[in-house]
């Protein structure tokens, strides 16, 4: 699904050195930088196999969900800030583009720069006061902000109140069919995933991981933790907002019912299920979380029951996530730093 390189974070030697021989074929395959291209090729080839409107809709939703999960991964996975109100940024993006497109008649693509500005502002407004808090308190405040945004959308005139906005044009007007929209979405999402992965390996990304592991130590080493955390928050906000634009284009109608706490929880679940901080993991987690309820439709009434049981089973069998992030350390440094890395 994504163009991701799964290269060592700090360019160190490969993990899990097995005495006597190098990393196995599977490991090398999974850590290959071509893996992302493979995923992208798979995503692009999927409509050749199945292209019913339903399949395209489900796959497009999954791609958008991947973008959301990758965005939240910046906040939760890289920087370790528990955000329970991520749907707020998603809503800000969707509503901003929706309102601009329907009220001012702008094409949806033209709203993207404005959406970026607005979501950055939202990230700062929400992040600046709350990021002084830590752990549980941060989670509670973000939860509150998520609800505030939704209830605002429910009560404001400009957002259409509870019935929301309808008649939002497609990405290029209506020129794109469902298949075209799917391809456009996949390419945009692939780019977003690539950028997020690169960001995670940058200087800023290393600072994020440092803050996640030990905020006080990071501060002591000269990392401006507040700025760094705010940057993570803003990054997450932009990704979420742009996913919101795609969402608005796909649904053509948005209402506050789409941005409930359940959404924030599901995106967080995708990040945790896939493996926090690991880009391929998060992509797979998002695909699983968004496809599973649709694939289970045949079970009718038992759909969400089975979905829940499956999730619990994954948590039991793979508590570290489907595809966890691996820290690159030699056995020597690993022994020195104890179990702090994971």
């Amino acid at each position: 699904m994504s163009a991701v390189e799964n290269r060592p974070v700090d360019g160190g030697p490969p993990v899990k050195p097995v005495r006597g021989r190098g990393p196995s074929l599977v490991t090398r395959l999974l850590e290959s930088r071509r893996l992302g291209w493979g995923g992208l090729a798979l995503a692009l080839a999927a409509p050749l196999v199945i292209a019913t409107p339903y399949a395209l809709n489900v796959m497009t939703s999954a791609a958008i969900f991947v973008m959301l999960a990758v965005g939240l991964n910046i906040v939760v996975g890289y920087c370790g800030l528990l955000d329970l109100g991520y749907a707020a940024f998603f809503a800000v993006g969707a509503y901003t583009s929706g309102v601009l497109a329907t009220e001012l008649g702008l094409p949806l693509l033209a709203t993207v720069p404005i959406v970026v500005v607005v979501t950055v502002l939202a990230g700062i407004v929400i992040g600046a006061p709350t990021l002084r808090l830590r752990s549980d308190y941060l989670a509670i405040v973000t939860l509150g902000f998520g609800e505030i945004i939704r209830i605002c959308a429910n009560n404001l005139e400009i957002t259409g109140g509870p019935s929301g906005i309808y008649g939002i044009p497609g990405l290029w007007g209506d020129a794109l069919g469902p298949a075209g929209f799917y391809y456009a979405t996949v390419l945009i999402v692939a780019l977003a995933v690539l950028l997020a992965a690169r960001l995670g390996r940058s200087r800023l990304g290393r600072a994020w991981r440092f803050v996640r592991e030990d905020e006080d130590a990071a501060e002591a080493m000269g990392v401006h933790t507040y700025k760094v955390k705010l940057a993570a928050y803003i990054g997450g906000a932009i990704w979420g907002g742009l996913a919101g634009v795609l969402f608005a284009a796909q649904l053509s109608a948005i209402s506050p019912a789409s941005f409930t706490f359940l959404w924030s929880a599901l995106v967080l679940m995708a990040v945790v299920l896939g493996g926090m901080g690991s880009t391929p993991g998060v992509v797979i987690g998002a695909i699983v979380i968004s496809l599973a309820p649709e694939l289970l439709r045949g079970l009718a009434d038992y759909r969400f029951f089975v979905f829940g049981v499956l999730l619990i089973m994954v948590m039991i069998v793979r508590p570290q996530g489907l595809w966890p992030h691996r820290s690159r350390e030699t056995p020597h440094t690993a022994a020195r730093s104890g179990e702090a890395a994971e």
Binding site: Y54, Y166, P293
Partner: protein, 386 residues
């Protein structure tokens, strides 16, 4: 390396499933011929989530009509009808997935739609596929505001309900009316329209328009605010769960006036939740239900015999939607969406539970609201509003 192998195996299995399931449905595959066998009718209804209890009522109502039509030999020279119900969970995203699934399955007419918010994004999907929608329940004004050629609504609309409510409030001696809603699309629509009716000269005074958040259990803050205006009539336009709680909490707070509730609150559970005698005498604006219709006893009996349960709210509308679809297919003598829509527009006097049908300019039905009242714990007819 075991976990890696598991992941790889899962990926392989998944792709194998996709390939085998999707044979011939790809972009490069040809269109399969779907014009043989049964004619599919699609239904987007809530089968999970907060409104899940309504889904089966609607599904059973529709199934009853389908069995009747098929029992009489089907349509178009013996082709049977078949119902495809999909869960929309009252959620816009799930609803669009469900709608595209129905379109992919090749349904010819859509006879679903309960929550207005979830139905709204599905309009474009069905419209693009030129599939006529006969919406049995959802009735927010946004649904017909887009004037889509393929969208028909057979439930009374928000402004019709508001007009019926205002008429009844004046007639029943209301002088100071408080309007309350739950901030959902449907409920707020009726509340705002009722408030507008009350602002007209000669209508009862409006003391407040107050919103509550659905799903809470303590509404004392809203109750206190509303009672400050000293209303003698309270019109609640939301659903029965909150409605019952509100009735109870207003009575506990010493409110002596009357209640009127909207059609979403018409369920025997309202009186149960209100508790004791609190629910007795609560009025409701409602479209006719089998229980209040003359001559519907046999219909109720056959429903009970078939499904082993009483019909509920909107069973009749769903039943009517399917009959209407069958009639239109017969009249059009085709399963072509455009022709079916034309046939629907041309119908005049087709008998529904709500009366003879003739679609308005907006492709909605005319009037059809009545006033019901709670007697001995269940809603019975008070009077027709014309």
């Amino acid at each position: 390396m075991k976990p890696m192998r598991t992941v790889l195996g899962a990926v392989l299995a998944l792709s194998a499933v996709t390939v085998s399931a999707g044979c011939g449905q790809g972009l490069l595959g040809g269109d399969s011929d779907k014009d043989k066998g049964p004619i599919l009718l699609g239904m987007d209804i809530p089968l999970s989530g907060g409104s899940a209890e309504i889904g089966p009522y609607m599904k059973n109502g529709a199934q009853l009509a389908i069995d009747e039509v098929n029992g009489k030999g089907g349509v178009l020279g013996g082709r049977k009808l078949e119902l495809r119900a999909e869960d929309d969970a009252c959620d816009p995203k799930t609803a669009t997935a469900a709608a595209t699934k129905l379109v992919s399955a090749g349904v010819k007419v859509s006879v679903g739609g309960y929550c207005s918010g979830a139905t709204l994004p599905t309009l474009a999907i069905f419209d693009r596929a030129k599939i006529p929608m006969i919406i049995p329940v959802a009735n927010s004004t946004e649904l017909y505001a887009q004037r889509l050629k393929h969208v028909f609504m057979i439930n009374g609309t928000g402004d019709q309900q508001a007009a019926a409510a205002a008429k009844w409030l004046a007639k029943d001696g209301g002088t100071k009316v408080a309007v309350m809603h739950d901030n959902t699309s449907y409920s707020k629509d009726i509340a705002v329209r009722t408030a507008a009716e009350l602002d007209k000269p000669g209508a009862p005074d409006k003391t407040a328009v107050e919103a509550v958040n659905p799903g809470e259990s303590d509404y004392s803050a809203a109750v206190t605010t509303v009672l400050k205006g000293r209303p003698d009539y309270i019109y609640w336009t939301g659903y029965y769960a909150e409605g019952g709680l509100l009735v109870r909490q207003f009575r506990q707070a010493g409110y002596k006036g009357k209640f009127l509730v909207g059609d979403g609150s018409v369920d025997a559970k309202l009186a149960k939740i209100a508790g004791g005698q609190n629910g007795e005498g609560v009025y409701a604006t409602m479209t006719p239900t089998p229980q209040t219709l003359q001559g519907a006893e046999s219909w109720i009996a056959s429903y009970k015999q078939k499904f082993g349960a009483d019909p509920g709210p909107y069973s009749t509308q769903s039943y009517d939607a399917v009959r209407l679809a069958a009639e239109a297919i017969k009249k059009a003598d085709s399963t072509d969406g455009g022709k079916i829509a034309d046939a629907l527009r041309g119908l005049d006097g087709f008998q529904l539970f709500s009366g003879p049908l003739k679609f308005t300019q907006q492709q909605t039905i005319t009037g059809g609201f009545e006033i019901q009242v709670v007697k001995n714990g269940s809603f019975v007819l008070q009077e027709k509003v014309q």
